[in-house]
Subunit: 498 residues, 2 copies
């Protein structure tokens, strides 16, 4: 009789195949599928999801996982069994029938949300949102360990080891230091010109330069593709098939930095070793660690003055009439311009985490304080006014702007801010190890990328984000690096005495 | 206890989901997937194929199929059970282990074939081909009914009711009439100019006009997409997601007519009713019937003088410098120019079926007469010289040109010629029912398309091609219509007294 771990392999293979198929369907749906394909295709995806569910909750799988505990497993094998055990626990605690109802609600929910956003009518979405919250809380309660708060259960799904206790401290740090700092920036009187970033930038030219920059930062087009979708995203079938999308409008920086951002995600997935890909540990460690890499490439690398030294000429050559007369310094200032705004996905680097702070505070109220969802538009608007100094004129640019809640995703948002903070902590450490800006100026992004690959990417999900951060930087998560990075960078840009 | 037919549904759903996923992976692989994705992705597709196999050969499924025989089923239900029973029979008679070996061989086979073709070296492919033939014959022998010839087993997979007896007559008709007729055409002394079809036709313009013509003949872009691949093909996930590809080169007619051809396939699949799509009978009736529709749109409609009357101007507008000075008459002559050539996929309408005739004769020798595959290059070249008057200078433009045998597909080729003959028989009948050319001249393709939808498409696989042909035209398959159509059309074009 072979070992339990070996007997698990056919199950794991099927899990992987169903997941890979689901990812491909999703990619196809976002990038290419014809308008009317939706309902018929969804039915097939539903069957594949049910197959996935039935393998994970197969009693034989559970039995084998238990038996594996008695076996002498290697590090990778252990981690795979651990991931599988967690997935079993997550799925088996929720009754299949309730999960189906919830899935159905989610699929309707995103449609109702989209309509509500279009019509700027929160009340048509509120009853659905209320039900989504109820299911979410019920499912969290099934899974909560004794004494565990429901929101902590949800947070743990996206970022292990970051519960409310940690996140309260994190967001308090941001709130207490960045909100007053932002006020100084907006009051500084420093004017930054960025009109040249908007204009007659053809889609063809934006795509051409996007490909050049994706490749320049390390996206490997032999192992990946780039396409167009309504909202940029990254996905992958495995480490040799990693896909990014972008979208094009009149603001050239939107597509340029979305491509660099998604390339950061993609480089992470391309850096997963062959031994891990197509296994349960063959992906980025967490949402936050993923976002740390994408925002690292986008902001710490891509919006760095040194980055542009060797390549600004290339951009000018692609857009001679638009940027031929714009100096590199003016360009770099423009791409770092701070402008408190209403839409998270369009936020600048400094204000970004304040958008997330607002969502964190509201999610806590929804999950832990039974907030009446009808009050959300008001609370949302008040917080934007308080932290960012701007107030949405309607729910489309307010509480309805993000898709997440309509998909039943609560606890996801904090990862966006955590990612930026992880990145800043890594950056602080890396600057002590290498001449970071010197490398950028020399066009040596490879060295930076290899550092990230060596210390982060190659571990997949073998370690948690918090573990890796500690092992790499020698220090537990410390949000102060993030605040310091922002205050230093934007203090200089806006000439603020600190 | 519910009826056996109802108990079959979850199995059928899974069959459908695995097939749909496989189709999407294949589409993605041909149109988009990055260079290095192959091996990892194949592994996942292999798992999905194994799942498909295991559902079909599940003893419970077989039991339910048997029980269905005692139930009072509707026409559609009966047809679905019949298709399932046939698939079970096909898969269960071949030992799983042998089938895996064969699949492995096929996946190596296409690679070895591609290399051999590139190197113009038949001998490096011959041993693999020999093995493929052996497996094919062995599998056919497992499935043969008493006294049934092996090649008949294979032919039946692609075209029910067309065995060697029928096909011998069909191809004899072609050989005895078209070979001498072709000689008259090539000896006629009539010169047709077609140099203007080749030149600086940009990919962008070819794509634009391709989309216009696809839509013009009836391709619905709300239910389909068009992309680029090395060789044009059509595939579909269901009736609301039908996909065609084309490729672009310096010959504008190549992409134009490949788009119209694939649109014919696509219109068939878009015409499958909602009740049938996503079931085992929710596709075209057969390979031959499918090809009848694609070649009907390409040739009987698309290369018809009347077709161009309302739309030639559009083509000229897209290509003013290339076609502005070319009259419609000269253009229509050019797209119908006869030129005996070596490559089937580039053959004109008149010589096309002779390429298929050669393959049919050779396949019969391979399967029924134990032909030594080493002799193939010689036999191939001799037949081309005899029937078409041209002789390949190497195996790349000879016996190695088609992928089919390397995929273990024997018995497929005849469908290509049958399709053209089905189309001609339909055309003959339709001309008695409607002013066919008048409709084309008036741009009323819709009426023609609706006739095909009403009499062919909407039945999916509920009837065989032969049944449908008989029911629509009131007559069994009769290849003489095909010969008459060609002789009339090309006799006129080449001014041949008949």
């Amino acid at each position: 009789m072979s070992r339990a771990y070996e007997q698990l392999q056919p199950y794991l293979e099927r899990v992987q195949a169903f997941q890979t198929a689901r990812i491909l369907f999703e990619w196809d749906n976002e990038t290419l599928a014809p308008k009317e394909a939706g309902p018929n295709t969804s039915r097939m995806v539903g069957v594949l999801s049910a197959e996935y569910f039935s393998v994970i909750t197969d009693p034989q799988v559970k039995k084998l996982v238990k038996e594996c505990e008695g076996e002498d497993l290697g590090q990778v094998e252990k981690a795979i069994v651990r991931e599988l055990a967690e997935e079993i626990e997550k799925l088996e605690k929720v009754p299949a029938q309730e999960y189906r109802e919830f899935s159905q609600l989610v699929s309707e929910g995103t449609r109702i949300w989209a309509d509500a956003r279009k019509n700027k009518d929160f009340h048509s979405f509120a009853p659905t949102l209320k039900k989504l919250v109820e299911y979410t809380k019920k499912f969290a309660s099934y899974r909560a360990k004794e004494g565990q708060k429901l929101y902590d259960v949800l947070l743990n799904d996206y970022e292990k080891g970051f519960d409310m206790e940690t996140l309260d401290k994190f967001f308090d740090t941001l709130k207490s230091q960045l909100v007053p700092f932002l006020k100084k920036v907006t009051d500084s009187g420093t004017e930054i010109r960025d009109d040249f970033l908007t204009g007659d930038y053809s889609e063809k030219d934006q795509e051409a330069i996007g490909r050049i920059f994706a490749e320049y930062v390390g996206f490997d087009f032999d192992r990946g593709v780039m396409a167009v979708s309504a909202h940029p995203f990254t996905t992958n079938l495995h480490n040799k098939d990693v896909r990014i999308t972008t979208s094009y409008n009149r603001h050239v920086d939107d597509s340029l930095f979305s491509v660099i951002h998604e390339s950061g995600h993609a480089i992470y997935e391309m850096g997963i070793p062959d031994e891990l890909t197509q296994t349960l540990v063959g992906g980025g460690a967490s949402m936050g660690m993923h976002e740390s890499q994408s925002r690292f490439f986008e902001n710490i690398i891509g919006r760095n003055q040194a980055f542009w030294v060797p390549v600004y000429k290339k951009l000018q050559e692609q857009f001679p009439s638009q940027l031929g007369d714009v100096s590199m310094d003016d360009f770099v200032k423009a791409i770092n311009k701070v402008e408190p705004s209403l839409i998270r996905t369009q936020a600048d680097e400094l204000t970004y985490s304040l958008h997330v702070l607002i969502r964190y505070e509201i999610e806590k109220m929804i999950i832990e304080e039974d907030l009446d969802v009808e009050k959300l538009p008001q609370i949302w608007a008040d917080k934007y006014e308080e932290y960012l100094g701007v107030r949405p004129k309607d729910v489309a640019e307010g509480v309805l702007q993000d898709i997440h809640w309509s998909q039943g995703s609560f606890g996801y948002f904090p990862s966006y801010a955590l990612g930026s903070a992880f990145g800043a902590q890594l950056y602080h450490y890396m600057k002590g190890q290498m001449d970071f800006e010197g490398l950028l100026r020399a066009g040596e992004i490879r060295t930076i990328r290899e550092f990230l690959r060596e210390h982060i990417h190659r571990y997949g999900k073998l370690k948690t984000s918090r573990q890796m951060l500690k092992e790499v930087t020698g220090e537990d998560f410390n949000p102060q690096y993030y605040v310091d990075y922002l205050v230093e960078k934007y203090g200089e840009l806006y000439k603020i005495a600190i």
